[in-house]
Structures are given as structure tokens and as C-alpha cells.
Symmetry: C2
Subunit: 456 residues, 2 copies
């Protein structure tokens, strides 16, 4: 209510109407340029901004951030690359609303703390500004519905910027799945297994580590992300694991998540980290913080089509990075942890083969086309693809390859897993956010377009 | 009731009383020789018999099997190695009872189809014959209690012959756990991931494969094991995964399993195998069999001390063998699938190291002592250790290192996982089979004995 009133009020004050109905919506011709705003230009937003500035089909028109210094840095970068100054909105957390109604960008990239994603996305959609939103889990099912409803009432494009869906090996395996190399899929695994202790804590100055501060004394992600580990026990960050699996299983497109259970280990890693850090120790006040988040949280998801999925969240212990993918069907299995594959009739019986040969053979056409262009981009190139898909789909006025329904059922994993753990691992049902449309929707992610062209 | 009556009757008929109170129980001196019987001398029983015949502290006195040819083979082997003929009991499935009361062995090795383990073990215990029983899951919680009660009323030794507990890498990692190399344990994984399609089906003549027959037309394990895949959906074979984890977590000795949930994928692998086999095909009658067992079943177990455990059962799809062990604590992680380890402060930050160096450094004293002796034994030598432990504990009249309580809570996983799946992944509580004794019992598995000697 507040938001709607606000938007109406601002709209009256500025006497402006959305330009989107005339540009993005209802016209057949392709757009050549997208006016793009950024809300949130911390470490992650800045990465995406840099990528956007490499494109000639994007004009960055506005920047919103509560941190003036960060916003200024972003402005300088835009000026350098595009020769003009974007308008800044830095007057507190709600100034992004002025950004939306005053600058009316075609699209906005949202890279803010998790708890702001939904409200900002909904405001943007209601302003007819298309949204490319960074990934996060939801705190409630209602939050997911809010976004679905905002999209359905405005029909303004929304894309969840899940970059791991575009990882080169993941896309090669997706090709193999689509060409039936694994047979009928049976069991998939993935997760987020990343030692984030130096992300969750720093010295208030540097991005990573150097201290055990968080919250008001922390910097960047430590400022807000760590709070979720203090108060919540569930899979806080499900999308990097579930996104690729979702595409392989055609979730929301002939299949859907039915229910989950989650289990959490005890919570020790973050406390131990504070205790054993040279700038921490037993007298540091943060040793009194009680972290709710179990060090390892494992979620089991049952799909409508009968596949089982295991998702692991493991961010508070010393460990090498691994998303732990496993794709298993009636004809074979791939795992990323041992970089191995077994395909019946091709691999020696009961033996692993190195996956490389297969990953090269089935390299996704988009990687073949854009691999070189992507090579400079973040996270091994996949950041290029996710932004590219958003901008290209927008220009073509085509459906977003990872849309609001996909986001909703991924983000729902977080609050459902919290609920399952709180109820002693009790099963929790997924709402059908598509309201039945999953039965008839067809797969579109990373498929060839008209004329068999690979576009995004 | 039937069983007790039977035993009493047979006892009257043979006018014999158990010799065990005079030999195994209530005396302080060590036994030098064990009279050992075998019930079940199929493929597995024969392996164990061969190992037993390498020992000079065992006299094999009797063999029971419903298959006369198998029993005769076993008899010949004993004659060859020990120069005497063991008595045979081959007159139907209950003739083992005559074996027990007529020959009164000190101990018996039971290697029969799963559904016979409990009744045979209970009968043996009530006959004061110590039991070394092959591993299996239970069909009911009551079945587990039956065995616990038989043990508690007779105090006759029972050991579950869980060989993977003695795997060399597993025991090295157990040493590392006990020396706190992983810090406080947080999350453990294991399972049974073994393509058993050629075990579950054969041509009725050979042990493995060559056809798609099972049940009455199958041979060896295919004759009985496959039925469980037809009718049951759960983790049918939990012990190889859970045994080693159990020892690392001191389950029943200061810790216990509290509850589990299980998830099952659809069932496709066995049907596809019949369909695609050169001796199968769409006209083969076994294509009409509906298999209940999900191809992949994953069970999440919560412990009293707050660790999470993931167990995977995956026996019907093409895949390389892997028990999928993962041992993770506050200071590091080991995984067997990639043969890698990471220990904070020792390994390069965020990097895996090859586990070999650690596995050698922490090689278990028992492997150092008996490794050469074990090298000929089955399953990479671990079969030597499990039989060795049973015989040595028996001779010394010491507690069995893997006992009836351990067996009960492992076997319970099978029926609890079936129940969880049947109830849509609902959590199931583990009974406390120790009746509270887990709070005070101390770890004994593969520990040094008196005088700091490593015995078994």
C-alpha cells in the first residue's frame, strides 16, 4: 500500500508518465538501445556496470546507492566509458524510487542486499521499468508471490541474473541432457559450498577478511549478509545450485518442484572463526554472537516428474569452493567434484572418464559464439552471458530466459528450508507460482531462436 | 513363541544342553580355539569360510545351506584345509536349527538372504552360540528389537560383520578424527553407490549378468535380493555407508541417531536394464515387473550431537562404484570421490590436496600390523579385519566392536526410510535401542587394548 501510494505521489509530483508502454511493450520492432539504471553499485553492482559499459546497446542513465562514494565511483566510470554523467540518487535507502520515476530507465539492474530485492523489483515493475535482479533467497513465500503478482499485473520483463546457469561446463551438460546423452534424468545435485568466512567478516575497510567485524562495523557484504547467518537457519543461497538443475529438469516448463525437506548441522564455523582469528579471540565481543545458521544445510527436493534433487549450503567452514554438481540419468552420470563422467556403452564399464572430452564435444553454441567476448567477464565468463541474455531479450521484446516464476520457486527454497528445519525436518510444499502454466510452458533457456540462430 | 518352543523341543529330543556357559561365558581365561559353524555358504559365505580356514584358531564344525551342492563344496574345502569333515545341514530352510542344537558351535557366521538374518541370529543367541552376521537392513523396527532383546536376555556375543568399517582409508580417516585433525565433526556423507544390475539379474547360471532373470529363475543373489527392489522403496543397504560414519561420530557411545527423512527418485534403471538387455527386450516377461525401489534414495540423518549425515543408495543405474564418503569438521574436509582433503592451516587456502599423504601418515595401527596378512582377503583386505575382530573378541571374551545396538540402529535406517518415503518424506524417529546406555558407553571400535596393544 505504502509503495503504491508513494509511486502515485511521486508520479504526480514529477508529472511524468512511464515511457515504457511506448518503448518496451506493445511494439514489434526491436529496440536498439536500452537506457539502463543501476540500483546498488557495491562490489557486485560495479562488476555488472563494468560489463554493461562494454556494450554499445546500453546507455547508463542513473545510479542509485546509499553510499555516496560508491555512487560517485560508478558515475566516474560511466563518464569515462560513455562520455556522459548518469544521474545519482544517494539520499537514503528509498531514493531509488526517485530514480525510477524521475529517470524512467528502460531497465534497472538491482544489486543490493537480499532483503531489498523484492521491494525494489516490485517498485521498478510497477514503474514499467524492466528488472534484472541479482540472486537471493526469500524470507517468506508471500515475498515471492508479491513479485509474481507485480510481474503479472504489469507484464514488465523481470529476469533473475543467475550466472551459474551460464557456466561453460554446466551449459555443455545441459546440451548433453537435451541430446539425451544421460537418458531420462533421475537424480541431480548441486549447491553452494564456498568458504565465505572472509566475506562474512572483515576489518571494516577491505572487502574480504582482515578482521572479524560485521554489521555496522563491517564493510561491503559483511555489513548486511552476515546478519542472515546470525538469525536464520536454512539454505540461504540456493540459486547457484538449483538454477542449472532447474534448466535441465525443465522446471516450470512441464515439471515443477513439489516439496522439500531440509536438515541442518550444528553451527560452529563462524564462532570458531571469530575465536581463532588474530584480530578476534575470546575477548572479542563478536564471540558472544549466537549464529543460527547450521554450518551445513542439505535440502532434498522432490519434483513432479519424479526426480530427486539434493542441494547443499556450506559457507561457514574451511573448504575448497565447489558447487557439487551431479547429473544422473538412466544412461550415465556427470559429477564436477571429480571432473568425471560415465556414459553407458561409451565409457569403460563401471569406470569414470575425464569429463573434458565430453564438455568440449558438447560445448554450448553460445559459448562457441561468445566465448572470446566473455573471457574478460567475471566468474569465468558467465557474468557476460547473464547480462547479455537480459539485454538481448529486452531489445527483442522476448520472454526472459530466467523469469519471475523461476526466481520465485528458487527463492522459496530458502524460507521453506528454514521452515522444514524449524519443524524438525518436516516436508514443506512448494506453491505453484505459475498457477498451472507450468503444464503448458515450453523450455526457452539458451535455445536457438528463430532462423535457428543462437542469440542469448 | 514358535522359535522358543522349537528350540526347547529340539533340545529335549537331542538331550543336549548348550556348551557355551562353560566355554564362552563366565570364564576369565582366553579361548584358544573357536568351533565355528556357517549358515549360508553361497558366494559371500564361501568367501568368509575361506578366510576362516586360513586361521589356526578356528575349527569349522558344521555347515548349513538349503543348496546341497554349495554345502558339499564348503565341506570339501574344510576337509582340504582342516583335514576333517564338518557336519552338513541341508534339509530345508529351518535345518539350521538342528545345526545349532546338535553341533553347539561356539560361534556361527550367518551369510543368508537378508530376511533370514534376524530369526537365525536370535535362534543362535538363544542357543548360546555367538553370532557374526552379514549386513542387511531391517524390514521393521520390531525386528531390530527382537535381536536386541535376544542379546540382552542371553548376553551371548553378537557382531555385525560390517567390513567397510575396516577399509584402509576409512580407518586412517577415523584416526584423523580421533586425533582432532578435522576439528569438531559437523557433516558426514556416505552411501552405497554400486551398479548392481548384473547382481540383481543373471541367466540363472552365473553369479553376475548374462541375462535378466531373478527370483526362482535367478541364481545366487538374484534369487532373493532383487525381490526387495520389486516391493520396497527405501535405503535397502545402509550399513556400508553408515558404519564408518557411526564410528567417527561415536554413535551409541555418547551420541545417537535422532531422526531421518528420505527422498526417492523415480524407478527406471531396472526396467530399462531388462528392456535393453540382449537377453531381455520388450517381449521378456520381466518387463511387466513394476519395481518399487527408487533408483536413487537419499536419507538425511540428524544426530543428538548436532551433526548432519547424508546417506545415498544408488544401485540400479549405470555408474562407477563409490561409497561417496565425506567427513567434514570445523578444521577440514575429506572426500573419497576426488581422493582429496583440505585441512585449514596445512592445505593451501581454498585448495584441495591429494589425500594420499594424509592417509599414509595416519594409517591405522591395525593395518600396519595386519596389512600384509589382509592383502589376500576380499574387498581390498577389509574382510580379513572384520572376521579377525569377531574371532579375537570372542577368544578374549571382550565386547564386540560392532554390536547388536550398532546393528539395530543401522538396520532401522532401511524401514524408517521406507516409512519416510511412504509418508511423503516425513521425519521418522529412531528408537534408542540401547535404552539409555548410549549416554555412558565408551568407544571401543579399533582401539588399542590393555597394555596399549593393537589387537583387533
Amino acid at each position: 500500500m505504502l509503495r503504491r501510494t508513494f509511486l502515485k505521489d511521486v508520479a504526480v509530483v514529477t508529472a511524468a508518465t512511464s515511457i515504457l508502454p511506448d518503448t518496451l511493450i506493445g511494439q514489434k520492432h526491436k529496440l536498439n538501445k536500452i537506457s539502463l539504471a543501476f540500483i546498488g553499485v557495491g562490489a557486485r553492482g560495479m562488476d555488472t556496470l563494468s560489463l554493461a559499459l562494454l556494450r554499445d546497446d546500453v546507455i547508463v542513465t542513473a545510479i542509485g546507492d546509499i553510499d555516496v562514494a560508491e555512487a560517485e565511483k560508478a558515475k566516474q566510470l560511466v563518464k569515462e566509458k560513455q562520455g556522459h554523467e548518469p544521474k545519482l540518487f544517494t539520499k537514503g535507502p528509498y531514493d531509488y524510487r526517485n530514480l525510477l520515476v524521475q529517470t524512467k530507465p528502460d531497465a534497472v539492474i538491482i544489486s543490493t542486499p537480499w532483503e531489498w530485492h523484492t521491494i525494489m523489483s516490485v517498485d521498478a515493475l510497477e514503474n514499467k521499468t524492466a528488472v534484472g535482479c541479482e540472486v537471493a533467497g526469500a524470507t517468506s513465500i508471500e515475498e515471492c508471490w508479491q513479485l509474481v503478482r507485480a510481474y503479472e499485473s504489469t507484464r514488465t520483463p523481470f529476469m533473475i541474473l543467475e550466472n551459474v546457469c551460464y557456466r561453460r561446463d554446466v551449459m555443455a551438460v545441459l546440451q548433453m541432457v537435451r541430446q539425451n546423452i544421460f537418458g531420462e534424468l533421475i537424480h541431480l545435485e548441486g549447491g553452494y559450498q564456498h568458504d565465505l568466512r572472509e566475506v562474512k567478516f572483515n576489518n571494516g575497510k577491505q572487502l574480504y577478511g582482515g578482521g572479524v567485524e560485521f554489521g555496522e562495523k563491517g564493510f561491503s557484504e559483511a555489513r548486511w549478509r552476515t546478519q542472515h547467518s546470525v538469525y536464520r537457519n536454512g539454505d540461504l543461497y540456493p540459486t547457484h545450485g538449483i538454477g542449472p538443475i532447474h534448466n535441465m529438469l525443465n522446471i516450470n516448463r512441464g515439471n515443477r518442484f513439489v516439496r522439500l525437506t531440509s536438515i541442518a548441522s550444528k553451527s560452529r564455523g563462524l564462532h570458531e572463526h571469530i575465536l581463532n582469528h588474530p584480530n578476534g579471540g575470546k575477548n572479542h565481543p563478536n564471540t558472544d554472537v549466537k549464529f543460527s545458521l547450521g554450518d551445513v544445510v542439505v535440502t532434498s527436493i522432490q519434483t513432479h516428474n519424479g526426480e530427486s534433487i539434493i542441494l547443499t549450503h556450506d559457507t561457514s567452514l574451511p573448504r575448497p569452493y565447489s558447487l557439487g554438481f551431479r547429473v544422473q540419468g538412466t544412461k550415465g552420470i556427470w559429477m564436477d567434484i571429480n571432473k568425471s563422467i560415465h556414459i553407458e556403452g561409451k565409457s569403460p564399464a563401471h569406470k569414470w572418464e575425464n569429463a573434458d572430452t565430453y564438455l568440449k564435444q558438447y560445448d554450448h553454441p553460445l559459448w562457441q559464439k561468445y566465448g572470446e567476448k566473455a573471457s574478460g567477464a567475471g566468474h569465468g565468463g558467465m557474468d557476460f552471458f547473464v547480462l547479455h541474455a537480459f539485454i538481448e531479450a529486452l531489445k527483442r521484446k522476448e520472454d526472459m530466459p530466467l523469469d519471475v516464476y523461476d526466481h520465485a520457486c528458487w527463492a522459496a527454497i530458502t524460507c521453506l528450508s528454514e521452515q522444514s528445519i524449524a519443524e524438525g525436518n518436516a516436508p514443506q510444499s512448494f506453491p505453484d507460482f505459475t498457477n498451472g502454466k507450468w503444464m503448458s510452458r515450453k523450455p526457452i533457456f539458451a535455445m536457438a531462436g528463430e532462423n535457428n540462430e543462437w542469440l542469448y
